[in-house]
Symmetry: C2
């Protein structure tokens, strides 16, 4: 007890910052002008101290610019220096965009493997939904997936679990991309936690059936990262950003209720969903609440009346945690087999480079076999990622 040296940490939620040549290296010459590329932009006038900020780097795609190229990649900084910048590659650790450097950063913290979600395309690739040229967008989606599988994961195949994004504007193309990438070794699909706020049909339609059928057939879990619906939990326009950061787990709660009251798991009995970055401490409350609601309201709300939602959860959904003492103390209410661990490198919620130390502290009262299940075996089994 608790976290033994022989246990490998498998993290189910981390992030890659795409290097500037991800699309340039893969798109045909005719796409180079419109496809995603990094440009330098002026960061405006000098500040109060008289020093002018240097130019920022932003992604340019179809003429639109996308700032926050690194989102919140503050790994390596002191908390006092956290912010929503950085805005240049030279302000972030090479481990953000270089797979060999990433492996070095993982080794430094005793982390065995990771799933690395996209940054410029957003967590579930939803940036490409905005594309005017959907043929170009499809090539961009495939290019990211090829980058992830053939370049990033190939650099250290035992260290990275390949995740892919989909052309979400067309479920048949999306299903085909599931098949194409499954054949190349992809292990999970980053899928929106809720498609409705993106202007797409909800989980309560049959629109996604081809995608879910393909995912089930390929045994590729849908990894639903909080925030990937594009609907952040903002209470008020002038609320501090800390409020939304605190509440992002509510998005995973919404995904849970939305899916469990949808036809999805009744149609796809082997489909698996991983709630990425959602935390776990809320799960027992939510399962009790959803069963209570189901018992009272199933007769008039058009939901399945036969299977208790908490039962569906225990077959289909997994949670993960960064740092959730209450959730770990209540792991038997959740189901030890439902829990995976995550590092969230290089974002500010991560404990890297002290993630292993912190995991050991959180798991200090947990028996060895349960710790091993939580930090390693559950993720290996769910994502078919053998040692």
């Amino acid at each position: 007890m608790p976290l033994q040296d022989y246990m490998n940490l498998i993290s189910t939620d981390d992030h890659v910052i795409e290097h500037p040549r991800v699309w340039l290296d893969r798109l045909p010459a005719s796409d180079q002008e419109s496809g995603p590329r990094v440009v330098e932009v002026d960061r405006g006038a000098p500040g109060d101290d008289g020093t002018a900020p240097g130019p920022a780097q932003v992604w340019l795609y179809e003429g639109r610019s996308y700032p926050q190229m690194a989102l919140n990649a503050v790994a390596g900084r002191r908390r006092e220096d956290f912010g929503l910048e950085p805005t240049r590659y030279d302000e972030i650790l090479p481990g953000c965009y270089d797979p060999q450097a990433r492996v070095g950063d993982m080794d430094a913290d005793g982390i065995e493997a990771q799933i690395c979600f996209p940054t410029f395309p957003k967590f579930a690739g939803t940036v490409f939904l905005q594309s005017q040229d959907k043929d170009l967008a499809l090539r961009c989606v495939r290019a990211w997936n090829d980058f992830m599988i053939d370049e990033w994961c190939a650099a250290a195949p035992t260290r990275f679990i390949p995740v892919v994004i989909l052309p979400l504007w067309d479920p048949r193309l999306a299903a085909a991309e599931v098949e194409r990438t499954a054949a190349k070794g992809a292990r999970t699909i980053s899928f929106p936690e809720n498609p409705a706020p993106l202007g797409l049909p909800s989980f309560h339609t049959d629109h996604w059936d081809p995608v879910f059928a393909a995912a089930q057939e390929a045994d590729m879990p849908l990894s639903m990262h909080f925030g990937s619906s594009g609907r952040p939990p903002v209470t008020a326009d002038d609320a501090p950003f800390a409020v939304a950061i605190t509440l992002f787990g509510c998005n995973s709660m919404a995904t849970t209720a939305d899916l469990l009251f949808s036809p999805v798991f009744h149609k796809f009995r082997n489909l698996k969903v991983a709630l990425s970055e959602g935390g776990i401490g809320w799960i027992p409350y939510m399962l009790e609440r959803i069963d209570y609601t189901w018992e009272r309201h199933k007769y008039y709300t058009g939901v399945n009346q036969d299977v208790r939602p908490s039962e569906l959860f225990r077959r289909h959904i997994w949670g993960c945690f960064i740092d959730d003492e209450f959730g770990i103390a209540n792991r038997h209410w959740i189901g030890v087999d439902r829990i995976t661990w995550e590092c969230d490198y290089p974002h500010s919620d991560s404990n890297w480079p002290h993630a292993r130390k912190r995991a050991a502290e959180t798991l200090v009262d947990v028996p060895d076999d349960e710790v091993h299940q939580i930090v390693e075996f559950n993720a290996r089994k769910l994502f078919r990622f053998d040692a």
Copy 2:
């Protein structure tokens, strides 16, 4: 153990359905046409079985009609017959609108006292925000408060804890109404869980300072009922209503994070907030998460950097539960002094007429002194409602 006969159940969240003369009895003759009154409306064509529905009763106010006069007042029905109707007084129990009948229903289930939130005005009286004639609206707000104090609670002063609503469009008028009703014995204020979605300034402004100052001065806790922001937790337009019912507790989570990261409790150190119907099982997760967020993000998000948010919670916020086994099992993570019980009569989430029996089951493993605190003493102290 557990719930002894000598312990009185004080419920901190129930509902009154206003009888048709609440405003007619109190508004001057010149307001009778525009003020709230009940009218009969056709319910449309016969259904598939050939029987025509009888007329419904709706509130008419300033020419606008407000259906769902009883919201979800299904007390007394079998679950199989639950729905969002009823739509007529003769379809609901007299205990919904008659205080003597209510006391009878409370006696039948061993419930000592209740807080009865408004129905037609909505939980926090926000219907009157929509008024064209704000002078009329102010008279309507005062009329409801006079009804609640002088008629409903006066019918059984030891059985009802007086709650009032405020003229939310004007903080000075609202503060004056706090003072006026406090002098008449009001004990709590039904206040929106988040004013921003109602088009009002958020908790992050000084707009509400006069109201919060008056509430603190009168020692009247703000009771924030979930849903009172007018922003239900809807995942998708076509999601079954069961999804939103399940997720309403997320609104109370949002209120918690919003308030704890706002200046409110730093300015009003004796202000108290009761989260009505929000449940309690999520509280430990949320407090851990909000502290985690605060530790990492306090330096750049403009929030107070000195007081840990969970500490503020333990001074200022109370939760309540209907049926929350997980929350009760984890009561020491929450704080036994933070928890009250509620019945939710006459809504479908209520266990009435078996609420006392169900409370006894939920509390079966809890020591007597803690049970007594949770079901009675905490509410008596918070709302200054002595036996």
